[in-house]
């Protein structure tokens, strides 16, 4: 009856353990907050599928092979997948070919900064060795330090359970914009905890006094929209890599989820990430936040229904329609950019000089940046459909204008035919085309996963077992 339920509520948050310092293990927090813990554990579920999204494995290079050409010469051309749940963050970064197969500390292609958004051990480690020190190592140096995936300690203050910002990059980005993140309202915090990671970033290697650090930085100083960030990188003369085909200094856009979401009507109306991805839920009279973060389409009744009184299928098709219309544009666009790289390579082969190429490479750099910005945020097509579409339009115009330039250049070099293209329908063909030996990479990775990772885990567990857990006698 109703009274039972009242009393139930009272006992809901009987603390069982005393959380001390930065506790990276969710299982410990879970003793105090079973509902949140149990729902968060569900992020390991990989069974949900929507039209374009999935909580499981999806090889993006398989579904959109052109990406191999766009990212030639860069790690992403080896391996890139759609996101899975938070539970998999550490597992996936160990498994991706992008991190290579470092058999010993100090080896491998990636810096320690890569760990930043993958684990609750990161705030712990930062607090122990300092932020800039954390950014100044190899990824392989911290293998035994970072073993817990994203969890409670990333978003919560253990004493008060208040939402908290544990990643310096976001705080510094606010400072760069002349804002104080401590002034953020509670509703804003319900999005800002996500903005610690779901944002475009780059590694600043020129930080005064920190030359050997790869300092995680969000390029927001002059604004968060795609044009201003583009300007920011141009002025800093920054590039992530140089493209082997078109010799273009390229930019990589990574998941600007927060930035694009802010351009949508939901953000304008004050709807937060958590409102949709972590809706409140009530169990036996006890209200709590559902921590099974994933596609809201898996949970329309608790997510969208709170504000929309439509049929489930109408809300689902709302999302699909927007995604389909955006996808139509980006699919065409990525093919055009791939062709531009190959056409430019042809011009270079025919002896085009730097001055002839300058404008063309600028065009490719900007077009691919904008394309990447619009697709790297897997939610963008729904978060802000029109802004995403606007970006796609501008990139389409840009790359085609550039291809007109290339066509003129080729003609002036005596070549007036369409440039022959590889088979864009096969990931393997294209990876071979750009000279990757994937089988070799894969077997090296396998050895790494068999021999190194288990060792990392063993050492990590041993370290954790030192840390005692203070239990509280309940009364």
């Amino acid at each position: 009856n109703i009274f039972e339920r009242k009393s139930e509520a009272k006992y809901a948050y009987q603390p069982k353990v005393q959380l001390e310092g930065i506790e990276p293990r969710d299982s410990v927090w879970g003793l105090n907050y079973p509902r949140q813990y149990q729902s968060y554990q569900k992020t390991q579920d990989t069974t949900f599928h929507s039209m374009f999204g999935t909580s499981g494995h999806k090889d993006m290079l398989e579904s959109d092979p052109e990406l191999v050409i766009l990212w030639a010469g860069y790690g992403f051309s080896k391996d890139y997948n759609a996101p899975k749940g938070h539970f998999w963050a550490v597992d996936d970064i160990n498994k991706t070919l992008r991190t290579g197969a470092p058999m010993a500390p100090g080896e491998g292609p990636m810096p320690s900064t890569c760990w930043t958004c993958k684990s609750t051990d990161v705030p712990r480690l930062m607090s122990e060795i300092g932020v800039s020190e954390f950014y100044s190592h190899k990824w392989s140096d911290f293998g035994s330090q970072v073993i817990n995936p994203i969890g409670c300690a990333d978003c919560h203050n253990p004493e008060t359970m208040k939402l908290t910002i544990t990643r310096p990059a976001l705080i510094e980005a606010f400072e760069a914009m002349g804002k104080d993140i401590n002034q953020a309202s509670h509703q804003e915090m319900r999005s800002l905890v996500c903005a610690q990671c779901h944002v475009e970033y780059y590694f600043d290697k020129k930080k005064p006094g920190l030359e050997n650090a790869q300092y995680l930085t969000f390029p927001w100083k002059d604004g968060m929209d795609v044009e201003n960030v583009e300007k920011y990188y141009d002025e800093a003369q920054f590039s992530d890599w140089t493209h082997p085909l078109s010799k273009t200094p390229m930019l990589k856009a990574q998941h600007p989820d927060y930035e694009i979401y802010q351009m949508g009507v939901h953000a304008k109306r004050g709807v937060s990430c958590a409102d949709c991805h972590m809706p409140y839920q009530t169990e036996g009279g006890q209200k709590f936040t559902n921590h099974h973060i994933g596609s809201p389409l898996a949970n329309v009744e608790n997510s969208c229904f709170v504000c929309h009184r439509e049929k489930v299928e109408d809300l689902v098709t709302d999302v699909y329609e927007r995604q389909r219309k955006i996808k139509e544009g980006t699919t065409k666009l990525q093919r055009l950019i791939a062709m531009a790289h190959i056409e430019t390579a042809k011009a270079i082969e025919l002896g085009a000089n730097e001055t002839q190429l300058a404008a063309i490479q600028q065009g490719i750099r900007h077009a691919q940046w904008r394309w990447d910005y619009s697709v790297a945020s897997h939610g963008a097509a729904f978060h802000a459909p029109l802004e995403t579409s606007r970006i796609v339009t501008s990139a389409t115009d840009l790359i085609q204008e550039t291809r007109i330039e290339i066509t003129r250049l080729l003609a002036s070099l005596g070549y007036t035919q369409p440039v022959p293209m590889p088979d864009f329908s096969s990931k393997e063909t294209l990876q071979a085309y750009i000279g990757l030996d994937i089988p070799k990479e894969k077997s090296a990775k396998q050895t790494f996963l068999d021999q190194v990772v288990p060792q990392w885990l063993k050492e990590g567990k041993a370290r954790e077992s030192q840390k005692s857990i203070k239990t509280i006698s309940s009364n």
């Binding site: 208040k162 939402l163 910002i165 544990t166 409140y280 209200k287 009744e301 229904f305 709170v306």
Partner: protein, 151 residues
């Protein structure tokens, strides 16, 4: 049903219309008590059986009841006595579309879920800890020290 109660108490209708004014038929006494009993019983069962969904939605029968009640009170505002005379379907045109298709906030507002109102988890600044900082102490320290002496 707490959210419905709370939203109603904040609505323009609190003073003028009670739950039953909208949710129980007023066409005839017998019907009124029959529906109420049936309804109340249903709710009570669902409630005590813990089947209460996160977001309650009106079922067709009660949608019709509500609509009828909107019209009952607002008839003369929404339909024009003079039009009725000879504008065919005038009354139908004004009353066949659920009122809250437009009046989306009457009376329960637009955000309706068991958790959307009432015992808010959201801390009211006045009552929350004096330290409003969202940056943990350790991070403030490391960042400060870093600014003072890079490396």
């Amino acid at each position: 049903m707490q959210p419905q109660y709370i939203t109603w108490t904040h609505s323009s209708h609190r003073e003028v219309a009670s739950c039953n004014d909208c949710h129980v038929p007023h066409n005839n006494i017998a019907n009124k008590y029959f529906f109420k009993a049936k309804d109340g019983l249903y709710h009570a069962t669902v409630f005590t059986m813990r089947a209460e969904p996160q977001v309650i939605r009106a079922r067709q029968p009660s949608i019709e009841v509500i609509q009828a009640n909107c019209v009952r009170c607002h008839q003369d505002q929404v339909t024009d006595a003079k039009m009725d005379a000879f504008v065919a379907d005038h009354t139908a045109n004004r009353t066949d579309r659920t009122c809250w298709e437009c009046h989306r906030d009457v009376p329960h507002g637009r955000v309706r879920s068991l958790s959307s109102v009432g015992a808010q988890i959201e801390p009211i600044k006045e009552y929350s800890s004096s330290d409003l900082s969202v940056i943990p102490g350790w991070l403030k320290e490391t960042m400060k020290s870093q600014k003072s002496k890079p490396n």
